[in-house]
């Protein structure tokens, strides 16, 4: 956003000539002193006023940021001749107009009609088959952050799919962690910021790590979807994104999971005494970094989620560059129930939509 700057030369010149004060000058300052109202810094109105106006209807938008938090796509499993689990997904790219802030429509390119795309959740070591159909108007790919061969990399010439075409990405799920996928067609910036990205979570499989100690095994189990150890965790995915609505290579709207202020207007309910795990992914285009800040509490952070022990302990702000992601773990056990804010600690992003609340209930 470029704003015209006030012409200082004029100010300077008139200020100099104006300093010769006489009768009229004196009455001028007197009149000004009485008439200019100094606004109150914090009127009761102002606190709740910094907010988008209106609500986005999830039904008409086709996806709900509140469901996106937890609607893991587990695909369809089968067992191959080697006895290994094969997990297959069907992803379709399509052009779709989505509402990214109340009343603001964005001509998005989507995976499965939603932004972010489905959160693919698999277990370490599984054989993955991702069938990718392109019903969009442009060539697209799915480039996974994971371990795979060059032909499966999802680049132009390696798994790029023309409109109407189909390609199946095949690779094994390694390493465990919190990852992502996104379109890698060119121009890259546009294919990403138009909405082609999603979470790709590989849960650790303790059976593949026989040398783990019991405590590490327990941690690994707690991260494995569907286990009793995992069930007590309140898990959610947050994809930090932004939207450049006027094509000036700067974002007008920031959010987690697309819809500005979605979790500010309708807080995320948290059971106070159960631990919280956030799969946090930054795919914000145009800005060098994004961040996550939790109010009134501290968390442990696993960068990329590829370790069972935290890479940072007891922090309340974490900074991620584009494509960087990690696992945030904390608990509100014993806390006073109420609303706890979380947001990017770039105030700019927070004020443009990337802000929300946890509603902690005892």
């Amino acid at each position: 956003m470029n704003f015209p700057r006030i012409n200082r030369r004029h100010l300077l010149g008139t200020g100099l000539v104006g300093s010769w004060l006489g009768l009229i000058g004196a009455s001028a300052s007197a009149a000004l002193a009485t008439s200019s109202d100094t606004p109150k810094g914090h009127s009761p109105h102002a606190a709740g006023s910094m907010m988008t106006v209106g609500d986005v209807d999830p039904a008409s938008n086709g996806f709900d940021p509140h469901s996106i938090l937890t609607d893991w796509d587990r695909g369809v499993t089968s067992v191959d001749s080697d006895g290994r689990t094969v997990r297959e997904f069907l992803i379709t790219a399509e052009d779709k107009e989505i509402e990214i802030a109340p009343g603001v429509l964005f001509s998005a390119w989507t995976y499965n009609g939603r932004v972010p795309g489905p959160t693919l959740r698999v277990t370490e070591g599984e054989r993955l088959r991702i069938v990718f159909r392109n019903n969009g108007s442009m060539p697209h790919t799915m480039h996974f952050h994971g371990i795979h061969g060059a032909s499966m990399d999802g680049l132009t010439g390696a798994g790029e799919v023309e409109p109407g075409g189909e390609f199946t990405y095949r690779f094994d799920a390694y390493p465990f962690g919190c990852h992502l996928y996104h379109c890698h067609s060119i121009p890259l910036k546009r294919h990403i910021h138009k909405g082609l990205y999603g979470g790709f979570i590989i849960d650790p499989d303790p059976d593949l790590h026989p040398d783990l100690d019991p405590q590490a095994i327990a941690i690994a189990r707690s991260r494995q979807h569907g286990t009793p150890e995992n069930a007590i965790w309140q898990e959610m995915v947050m994809v930090m994104n932004g939207f450049d609505t006027n094509f000036d290579d700067e974002n007008e709207v920031y959010a987690v999971n697309t819809v500005a202020h979605a979790y500010a207007k309708q807080p995320i309910a948290i059971a106070r005494d159960r631990p919280v795990r956030i799969y946090l992914i930054n795919i914000t285009e145009f800005d060098q970094i994004n961040s996550f800040h939790l109010h009134a509490n501290f968390f442990d952070y696993h960068d990329h989620g590829t370790t069972l022990a935290p890479t940072s302990r007891t922090i309340d702000t974490v900074m991620l560059c584009q494509g960087q992601r990690g696992i945030v773990e904390f608990s509100f056990a014993g806390f006073e129930p109420g609303r706890y804010m979380f947001h990017a600690h770039q105030s700019e992003f927070a004020e443009l939509g990337w802000m929300g609340h946890f509603e902690v209930v005892a």
Binding site: M1, H10, V17, A31, A101, T245
Partner: protein, 387 residues
């Protein structure tokens, strides 16, 4: 009957062609699914205690909707009156409770439903003054010093002018022409500056030229009918009135500019600035009475002329500090430019009649020097008061 058909025929054809074109829609192939380019002008901002108000004018070919408003890079709750989509050239106010800071800049971005953005900058925030307040009286005083006082001071040269010989008189009338030429250019360019800030679709720049021309031609014709150009007794008085009116409209523009600059914080109204304006406008008083030297105007008439030329500056200041519509102000100034153009012609004709075509012509050099001096005087004094 046949006559009616002759007139109605072309109109009927126009309607048929229009209906046919819309029905067949030959341009459909060009349209694709590209959305219409959106255009929105933020015409004015009003700053009240804890509140910002903006007037928007839609300029797209199709109706557009304001979806969100950012103030200083943050989404802010707002109310739109009247609500709903804005069709072409419609206006609406948006109001936000905002803790703006006295003397600092604030930036506003309006997002439409397509995500297009339109920016507006408040360079230096201060409350929009209320003319009914003490500030109103103070501004009135400034207006008097900018308009009335210099014109009246200039008119004090009247006895001296009467006593002067025809050589000096010719020189003074030529000086008046130079002054008027300056005022014409100044008023017109001020009108164009305001037109630039107006909604583009209204084409105010064109309107300014047209209004100025129509005013000049109209006043010229009225003046002829009333005898301004004739050598009889009423002529010079009419001409003086016309000059006073033109100068008055120019001074309205001057008041507008000072008021606007004051409200936006771009200028401090120091004494020197006001005295500068007084000096700048003294020549105007001389110009008004120049055609009257062979007359015996009474005091009432002189006061009337001075009020006609000077008081509009007060009005201009009052309007200028408000959030005013730039397009209406531009049109008012265009009327002023037209009025000045008319008196410029009339004074030219008077000089020709009295000093060039007459039995005792005055030297051309003195007329040329007078004219150029008028321009130089106005231009050089304007340098100290540019707002």
């Amino acid at each position: 009957m046949r006559q009616i058909l002759r007139i109605a025929g072309p109109f009927l054809m126009i309607v048929l062609v229009a209906i046919g074109f819309v029905q067949l829609d030959p341009l459909a192939v060009l349209r694709g699914n590209a959305p219409p380019v959106e255009k929105l002008t933020i015409e004015l901002a009003q700053i009240n205690q804890g509140e910002l108000k903006l007037r928007l004018r839609a300029e797209s070919s199709e109706a557009m909707s304001v979806a969100q408003v950012q103030v200083d890079g943050a989404y802010w709750k707002f109310e739109q009156t009247p609500p709903g989509p804005l069709s072409r050239l419609r206006t609406a106010w948006i109001t936000m409770n905002y803790p703006w800071v006295q003397g600092e800049s604030h930036h506003i971005t309006v997002l439409t439903n397509t995500g297009a953005t339109f920016d507006y900058a408040i360079d230096v925030a201060m409350s929009t003054p209320d003319p009914a307040s003490s500030l109103g009286w103070f501004l009135g005083l400034i207006g008097l010093f900018v308009g009335m006082v210099p014109v009246t001071l200039g008119m004090l040269f009247f006895p001296a002018l009467r006593a002067a010989g025809p050589g000096i008189m010719a020189f003074v009338l030529a000086l008046t022409m130079g002054l008027l030429a300056y005022l014409f250019v100044d008023t017109l360019s001020e009108a164009q500056d305001l037109a630039e800030k107006s909604a583009e679709t209204l084409s105010i720049r064109k309107v300014v030229w047209l209004v100025a021309l129509v005013t000049a031609v109209g006043l010229f014709m009225i003046g002829r009918r009333l005898g301004a150009g004739s050598g009889n007794g009423r002529g010079p008085a009419m001409l003086a009135c016309a000059i006073a009116l033109g100068i008055g409209l120019h001074n309205f523009g001057e008041g507008l500019a000072i008021g606007g600059a004051f409200a936006s914080g771009a200028v401090t109204l120091g004494s020197f600035l006001v005295i500068g304006f007084t000096l700048h406008n003294i020549t105007e008083g001389i110009g008004i009475v120049a055609p009257l030297t062979d007359q015996r105007p009474d005091l009432l008439m002189l006061c009337g002329l001075s009020a006609l030329a000077g008081l509009p500056a007060v009005l201009g200041l009052w309007v200028g500090v408000q959030a005013f519509s730039t397009h209406w102000a531009a049109i008012a100034l265009a009327v002023g430019a037209g009025a000045i153009l008319q008196v410029l012609i009339e004074v030219g004709l008077l000089i020709q009649r009295r000093y060039l075509d007459s039995a005792a012509p005055q030297p051309l050099s003195s007329l040329l020097v007078g004219g150029v001096l008028g321009l130089v005087l106005m231009y050089s004094t304007s340098l100290i008061v540019t707002v």
